[in-house]
């Protein structure tokens, strides 16, 4: 059994002259929980749809569980759970009817007890029609439907979008139930960095269709840092420090956001530039993400090499 469950090679999608996904090269190892983050319109949904064979790539390829996305067989699809963006389900069906419908496609895998437990855990009535459920409740049904067949790979497209904090917490706890099954892999896109931080062990950052980071969460947390540098005299005109993302300056203070720069190099540069002192400021994941993907003043693109 391969250790890579999801793999893309130069995956590219153009809509007319607009590039939505630009030469996406990534691998997701088995058993990890991958947070796929990016701003609105960064290409997360397009990338996920390409991986699931719902869109055809302009260039490149992707493989899920070793099978090319454009020719995913029914056997492979059985092993992949998918929660689509917005939790769009058949509105006229009740939860019971949806379960019967979904169950027919996973005759051997369907865990009826698990589904029932999840529906009860979320406090939903099985007779209720989807159209009468709130957005959050629909999300819970979607998750239960995707988890009950016990998929090897679960792909979720912005599953917590539009949910309040309490429902989101419940949703994530439901997801953790799946994670507890050994060897399960989860890829979920999200705008909410707190969710990613809570459950992911790996982070994929996509910006304008380009994959800009693919590393463990700890690596990302330690790689992106903000440094406040004070000068006795004026701030130097040119800031040339390795891994520079952004640079904001006042008269005697320089605030730089760096990626992948170790403390030795910061220290070395500070000394050479004549800084009086410097301080590394702790950032939360959200700030790191915003700094990492913010366009203005960006000095260079950072491609994380390590997987």
């Amino acid at each position: 059994m391969s250790d890579i469950v999801l793999e893309t090679e130069g995956l590219t999608k153009y809509y007319g002259s607009t590039v939505a996904v630009d030469h996406l090269d990534m691998q997701v190892p088995r058993g990890c929980i991958c947070g796929f983050v990016g701003r609105n319109g960064a290409g997360k949904t397009t990338a996920i749809k390409l991986m699931l064979g719902l869109l055809n790539p302009t260039e490149g390829s992707s493989k899920l569980l070793g099978c090319d996305s454009t020719t995913l067989t029914s056997t492979i699809r059985q092993r992949i759970g998918y929660v689509a963006e917005g939790h769009r389900l058949f509105r006229w069906m009740s939860i019971n009817e949806l379960e019967r419908f979904q169950c027919a496609f996973f005759p051997r895998q369907w865990d009826c007890k698990f589904f029932t437990d999840m529906i009860e855990y979320f406090g939903l009535s099985r007779r209720k029609k989807i159209k009468h459920l709130s957005n959050g409740q629909r999300a819970q049904v979607s998750l239960a439907l995707a988890l009950a067949p016990n998929p090897e790979l679960l792909i979720m497209d912005d599953p917590t979008l539009g949910l309040d904090a309490a429902i989101r917490r419940q949703f994530l706890e439901g997801m953790i139930q799946l994670i507890m099954h050994q060897g399960r892999t989860v890829l979920f896109s999200s705008h909410i960095l707190g969710d990613v931080e809570r459950v992911s062990d790996r982070i994929l950052v996509i910006d304008k269709g380009v994959l800009r980071a693919n590393c463990s969460l700890e690596q990302f947390r330690s790689a992106v840092k903000k440094v406040m540098i004070n000068f006795d005299d004026s701030v130097p005109a040119e800031v040339d420090i390795e891994g520079l993302l952004h640079c904001r300056r006042s008269e005697k203070e320089l605030e730089v956001t760096l990626v992948g720069t170790n403390e030795e190099k910061i220290d070395e540069w500070a000394k050479s530039a004549g800084a009086a002192q410097y301080k590394i400021v702790q950032m939360n994941l959200e700030d790191q993400f915003i700094e990492f993907t913010a366009p203005p003043g960006r000095k260079k693109l950072f491609q994380w090499e390590e997987i």
């Binding site: 769009r88 509105r91 027919a104 496609f105 005759p107």
Partner: protein, 231 residues
């Protein structure tokens, strides 16, 4: 099991329209047919239709009691085709359910086959069955002077096939990702041409041939578009 689950789902979505079409056709078609029944001529009650009138034998031999219901059948069939085409191929786009439907452990051909089968069953039950009932009613000698010919019965089924042409045309337009002023309108435009050709040159064999050719062309286009379309 998977196909039957898909078929059940698609057919359930057709049921309201099946009932509506059956009620419309049975209501209006039946009303028109009743007007010709012997005990009372209904709105055709006038001196020309009175027993013994000189006009009556001519009318009775040249005017089928199923002619007006046949017009209702064609209208209902076209309407039903349009509605089912929209229900099966347009609504999932607006409700965003295509990704959920297509991420199944079946191939796209099976999903499409379930939709087409559900539509065909809907036509047969709502219009075909009602047509059989009306045909049977129109053949009751105690109510109608002349028996209805098999040709009239077949013509009714041709009208039902015309509904399938409209269904496939609507499906093709719904599946197309092109702009309305380009090829997106092709499906509906093609179905409209078939309707025009059908009514402009009504001869049983000619009409049947035109409709069958139309169905084959549209079906091949729908299959090709559905299998290669991006969702």
């Amino acid at each position: 099991m998977r196909f039957s689950a898909l078929l059940r789902k698609e057919f359930r979505e057709c049921i309201p329209w099946l009932l509506l079409a059956a009620v419309v056709f049975f209501g209006f078609g039946g009303y028109c047919l009743r007007a010709f029944a012997f005990p009372r001529y209904g709105y055709l009650y006038n001196p020309y239709f009175q027993p013994g009138s000189l006009v009556e034998p001519y009318r009775l031999t040249n005017y089928s009691a199923l002619q007006l219901p046949g017009i209702w059948l064609s209208l209902t069939s076209i309407g039903l085709g349009l509605i089912l085409g929209v229900r099966h191929f347009w609504i999932p786009y607006f409700t965003g359910t295509w990704p959920f439907l297509l991420h199944r452990s079946v191939n796209r051909k099976t999903v499409l086959a379930a939709k087409l089968t559900a539509a065909a069953i809907t036509f047969v039950i709502s219009l075909g069955f009602t047509w059989i009932v009306l045909y049977w009613y129109a053949n009751r000698p105690e109510l109608f002077t002349l028996p209805q010919t098999a040709r009239i019965f077949i013509e009714g089924w041709i009208f039902i096939l015309l509904g399938l042409v409209v269904y496939l045309g609507t499906a093709l337009s719904g599946l197309s990702t092109a702009k309305w002023y380009t090829t997106k309108a092709f499906g509906i435009a093609f179905a409209s041409i078939i309707i025009f050709m059908t009514f402009s040159q009504w001869q049983l064999f000619w009409t049947f041939a035109v409709i069958v050719i139309g169905i084959v062309i549209l079906l091949s286009q729908v299959i090709d578009t559905f299998l290669n379309r991006e969702f």
